[in-house]
Amino acid sequence: MTDLPPSYPGQKKLGLVIDLDICVGCHACATACKEWNTGGHMAPLPDFNAYGDDAWGVWFNRIHSFEEGDGDGARTVHFPKSCLHCDEPACVTVCPTGASYKRAEDGIVLVNESLCIGCKLCSWACPYGAREFDADAGVMKKCTLCIDRIYNANLAPEERQPACVMVCPTKARFFGDLGDPNSAVSELVATRGGADLMPELGYRPVNKYLPPRRGRMRAEDRAPAPLTALVAEAQRESDAAHPLLRWVDRLLSR
């Protein structure tokens, strides 16, 4: 049934915490996700025309990049986005067939591919764009929170976590039980002020995002005036020059 399982205090809610302060936007999590899941529970994750123009493929994790603020205080923020395994997942309740479901035991939102009719309504109901249609199989696919890793007795205990978390070279991703207020991830969310995405829609996402740290603006963080002047001068001088010369000019001007 696409009814949601009854909720109770202390319920297990497995999810991710993503540290926007640390993420460097290397896309390793997206690549590792694609690699694991194209052979995992929702396999395959098809690609069409992968090496030509108009490449098109199914990904469960995509890394967006944003700019926040203007001038000296501005910052580039890399923003990985995958399924947030919401507490109120409308993608589940809108499903007409019962293919979409939320697991009572750990809160993971999954799709039963053999029931899916491919009506795409769940992808319309998800505000975050977590679901992607497999045009080859004609069914909807989504992040499984690597359900075939986290409970996989064939893996060493330290590897029983989602592929995206395992691979992250800067440790910007954390996996754990966000329903337990004493878990490491919950404490991290509490101390760093972890936030929900689009809380106004009432989906109550389980995954949390840690905001970039405020940090003080130090004098050396500002672009030094001589450098700015140099760049401007180099640009003036090389406006008419050959691109190669312009590049050499800029290189030598450093």
């Binding site: 990904w59 409308a90 499903c95 319309w124 975050y128 004609g138 829609l201």
Partner: protein
């Protein structure tokens, strides 16, 4: 939102078909329409063909049409499932009403009750269609109080225009069908204008800052997309071609969907014989074009919150 032609056709055709069934189920038992079984056959067959064509067309956009029967199972939580169930449930009293009327010439008593029951079911089905869209919170242009009234009045308008055309094969000068056709065209026009005013003057509570939990440093804007090529999300939810043609398309919808059908219904009301019949036929054709454009816009103008992650500031 991507305006899939199968869904545009489905919602307009089945809306008109269920509305026609609604009108027949209410008006025939009350003795307001010709009771001849020939008229019953023509009118009910029109309603049935429109609803069936719409439902078949909607199955075409499925990834697995052969599993469509599974969509009847989740009526407790899903408006799409409820719509599927109701459209089939409606067929039961409608079929009894049709058999009684067409084969036995009976339109009152128990058969009449089945007509009324079919009318009620048809009304619920139209409401379910509207609720599929109105229940989707990520789309401000759908998740509002105008969507269900729009589906109702636009469906009723199509139903009355069809009825006013069909009745002319039996009645030389019908009075109340062209009058009510005219009134429902005006009502539909009013709700559509109210809907357009609503989506033009309000915006979704969600912004790119809320979508990214950023913004404490100032303005948030996309620097780089996650990928260089299109993806499913952008093709399905990021449809944008229509917006620059929005004004012109709205004008077409207004003129073809409301202005011309209203004028033609007025001619049908005041005129008689062939002139009125031609006017009623042209009103149906014009309204059909207008409704398809209107429904196409309903999708094309709808902005999904996922576009906030791909460069939209607001939805």
């Amino acid at each position: 939102m991507h305006p899939a032609l199968s869904i545009v056709f489905f919602t307009t055709a089945s809306g008109a078909g269920f509305a026609l069934l609604l009108l027949l189920g209410l008006a025939v038992p009350l003795g307001l329409l010709p009771e001849s079984s020939g008229f019953g056959f023509l009118a009910l067959a029109t309603a049935f063909v429109l609803t069936a064509a719409g439902l078949v067309s909607s199955a075409f956009h499925l990834g697995h049409p052969e599993r469509a029967w599974r969509a009847f199972s989740q009526w407790r939580s899903s408006w799409l499932s409820r719509e599927g169930v109701m459209s089939v449930v409606t067929l039961v009293p409608a079929a009894i009403f049709a058999i009684g009327w067409i084969f036995f010439g009976v339109t009152d008593g128990v058969i009449g009750l089945f007509g009324v029951l079919a009318a009620i079911c048809a009304a619920v089905t139209i409401a379910c269609t509207g609720m599929i869209y109105a229940s989707l919170k990520p789309i401000h242009q759908w998740h509002n109080r105008w969507v269900v009234p729009n589906y109702f009045t636009l469906g009723l308008m199509a139903g009355f225009l069809l009825l006013d055309l069909l009745i002319r094969f039996w009645t030389v000068r019908p009075v109340w069908t062209p009058l009510l056709a005219l009134l429902t065209v005006l009502a539909a026009w009013w709700t559509k204008e109210a809907y357009w005013r609503f989506i033009d003057t309000t915006s979704a509570p969600s912004t790119v800052a809320g979508a990214t939990a950023l913004g404490s440093r100032g303005r948030v804007r996309m620097l780089e997309s996650p990928h260089t090529q299109d993806n499913y999300l952008l093709q399905e939810m990021g449809f944008r071609i229509a917006r620059k043609h929005k004004t012109r398309l709205r004008l077409i919808a207004r003129i073809a969907g409301f202005v011309l059908p209203a004028l033609l219904s007025l001619i049908a009301l005041l005129g008689s014989g062939m002139t009125a019949a031609i006017a009623a036929a042209l009103a149906v054709l014009s309204a059909a074009l207008g409704l398809v454009v209107e429904r196409w816009l309903f999708f094309a103008e709808a902005k999904h919150t996922v576009t906030l992650y791909y460069g939209a500031d607001a939805v």
